[in-house]
């Protein structure tokens, strides 16, 4: 089997896993699940780092570093925001405390 064929095989098998792994999800979890999946494709960071590490010219390096920043935003932001959604599902006490403070954070609301 050539390398290309092996990669294609991995692709096809991963597609089946992706379909199977989330067969039944309640609507409550649609948003966190989307957000979590969103964070997972932030792993393009690995690709961005590889490309940046091989950059020959300054121009290439700059573009690659932009990709690194964007990919990191995707991955770190994605996992953190998903965790924030899900901590609400955890029970009681700590959520009550933090939720009191949240409206005051409003000035940072229009970030990104």
């Amino acid at each position: 089997m050539t390398e290309g064929m092996a990669l294609l095989t991995i692709f096809v098998l991963a597609a089946f896993v992706g379909f199977e792994v989330i067969s039944k999800v309640s609507t409550t979890l649609h948003t966190p699940l989307m957000s979590g999946a969103n964070a997972i494709h932030g792993v393009i960071l690995v690709g961005a780092i590889l490309v940046a590490g091989e950059a020959d010219t300054t121009g290439e390096l700059v573009v690659a570093l932009v990709a690194v920043v964007l990919a990191t935003l995707n991955m770190v932001g994605g996992f953190v925001v998903t965790d924030r959604m899900l901590e609400m599902f955890g029970r009681g006490a700590p959520a009550a405390k933090s939720s009191q403070g949240k409206p005051e954070d409003g000035d940072s609301g229009e970030a990104a």
């Binding site: 896993v17 379909f19 989330i22 494709h41 960071l45 690709g47 490309v51 920043v69 990919a71 990104a112």
Partner: protein, 456 residues
């Protein structure tokens, strides 16, 4: 050794998606996924011959600090647009990776994959930017339709693909191919904008989910170009599960994906939107009237919507519910699948206010209870209770399942104004004789009602 670590990461991602599908395991699932991501990023630095390590570390640090800060501090109500923007930058990153790899990619399948990544990554980037603008209300939430829209969209897409073919024929090398590659990116950015513009506000979350799946596939294609199995597995997982999730979301709203994407192309403007004149009579009441109605009811169903979230009124609504419960009123919450801005968004907001989980009733379970309900209290919701979804085939929301508050003995709307909802459609129910409207900011209105109930 490195490949083994990548395999561990890939397994983490699969377990993460599995965990995220069930409420009990969701939070741990997300942490497992994050661990997989961190592992992969540490391991990639052990790659032989990797240069420019210092600038890369700085870039990662910048992304981490900004990403974490923004994700921590943004308001819960702004969550959907945040997810959209994170998705967009991921797509953008994948397109940039493909652009840089183009010259050194073998022709044939890897080159085709790189070009795919260029096109779809760029579409995902600009498409997400438009969804962000729609949700942030930087632009209208209504479908943006112009004459010949489908032709322009089709034509632009054809140009993007045509330019992709030019790159492919040129083996991705030389000046001509480089220029064509940059042109592919630019034209694809326009394609992304045209793709999302005609989508109506209420359908935007579904499009975010679809673009999320697109980005997944882009990452998988980039992984093929780089011969990196982890990127292939992770990207494909997201592409496949994201497609499935998009279908589930669409099903929850009673929509088909094609009608969301292309429905607006064929719609004849805002049909059925402007029925009736300006001056139709409505019953506007004061907080005391609402308090009496609620305080002496046996069963009250609260239907929260985006207006509640905007006004940060979830804590006040809970206070009211507690007060009513103390008076022996049975209170439950009817949660529409897309209440708020995204499926599950309202559950998050109410959970934040410590509303007991068992009081949250999903739409399919609350509808049969509504005929036995004395008062339906609609707080900042409109489209999700609009009977036009059932009765008027010309309406943009026709076919969407709704919470049938019209079945209840009385309906109270807490609204800021008579302005129609996000989808821009009048609600006939407002003019029903058994409907009462209490105008004002949801939080202030609720606080007044709470005070009035206390005084009963």
């Amino acid at each position: 050794m490195r490949d083994f670590a990548y395999l561990v990461s890939a397994v983490c991602f699969i377990l993460a998606l599995k965990g995220l599908s069930s409420p009990r395991t969701a939070r741990n699932g997300n942490l497992v996924g994050a661990a997989g991501g961190v592992l992969a990023v540490i391991v990639v630095f052990t790659t032989k011959g990797l240069g420019h390590i210092l600038p890369i570390l700085v870039a990662v640090a910048v992304g981490t600090v900004v990403g974490a800060l923004v994700a921590r501090r943004v308001q819960m109500t702004a969550m959907p647009q945040l997810v959209a923007i994170f998705n967009g930058v991921g797509g953008g990153a994948a397109a940039l990776v493909a652009l840089l790899e183009l010259a050194s990619t073998d022709d044939g399948l890897p080159l085709a994959a790189a070009i795919f990544s260029l096109i779809v990554g760029s579409v995902s980037f600009s498409g997400s930017a438009v969804t962000f603008a729609k949700l942030q209300e930087l632009m209208t939430g209504r479908p943006v339709i112009f004459p010949g829209g489908p032709l322009v969209f089709g034509g632009t897409l054809a140009v993007a693909i045509g330019l992709g073919v030019v790159v492919f024929v040129g083996d991705g090398q030389g000046t001509a191919a480089s220029v064509a590659a940059v042109a592919v990116v630019l034209v694809s950015l326009v394609v992304g904008v045209l793709f999302v513009l005609p989508v109506g506000g209420a359908d935007v979350p579904i499009v975010i989910s679809l673009l999320n799946a697109f980005t997944g596939l882009t990452v998988a294609a980039s992984g093929y170009v780089l011969s990196n199995t982890l990127l292939i597995v992770a990207g494909t997982l997201v592409g496949a599960s994201g497609t499935l999730l998009t279908r589930m979301m669409a099903a929850a709203m009673g929509r088909s994906i094609t009608s969301i994407l292309f429905g607006a192309f064929t719609a004849r403007g805002p049909a059925g939107a402007a029925a009736g004149g300006e001056a139709r009579p409505v019953r506007s009441v004061g907080p005391e009237d609402v308090a009496i109605l609620l305080g002496y009811a046996r069963k009250v169903v609260v239907v929260p919507g985006y207006g509640l979230a905007v006004a940060q009124a979830q804590h006040t609504v809970r206070e009211l519910a507690d007060l009513l419960a103390a008076r022996g009123v049975a209170v439950s919450y009817g949660i529409h699948p897309v209440a708020g801005r995204m499926p599950g968004h309202m559950n998050v907001l109410l959970a934040e206010a410590n509303v007991p989980y068992d009081q949250l009733v999903e739409m399919d379970d609350i509808n049969p209870q509504l005929p036995y309900t004395d008062v339906a209290l609609v707080v900042g919701a409109n489209d999700v209770v609009n009977p036009a979804a059932k009765t008027s085939p010309g309406s943009p929301i026709y076919g969407m399942p709704i919470i049938e508050v019209g079945q209840a003995g009385a309906v109270v709307f807490l609204k800021r104004s008579m302005r129609p909802g996000f989808a821009g459609i009048e609600n006939e129910l407002m003019f029903d004789p058994k409907t009462m409207l209490l105008f004002g900011d949801a939080k202030e209105s609720l606080a007044k009602v709470v005070a009035a109930v206390k005084a009963l």
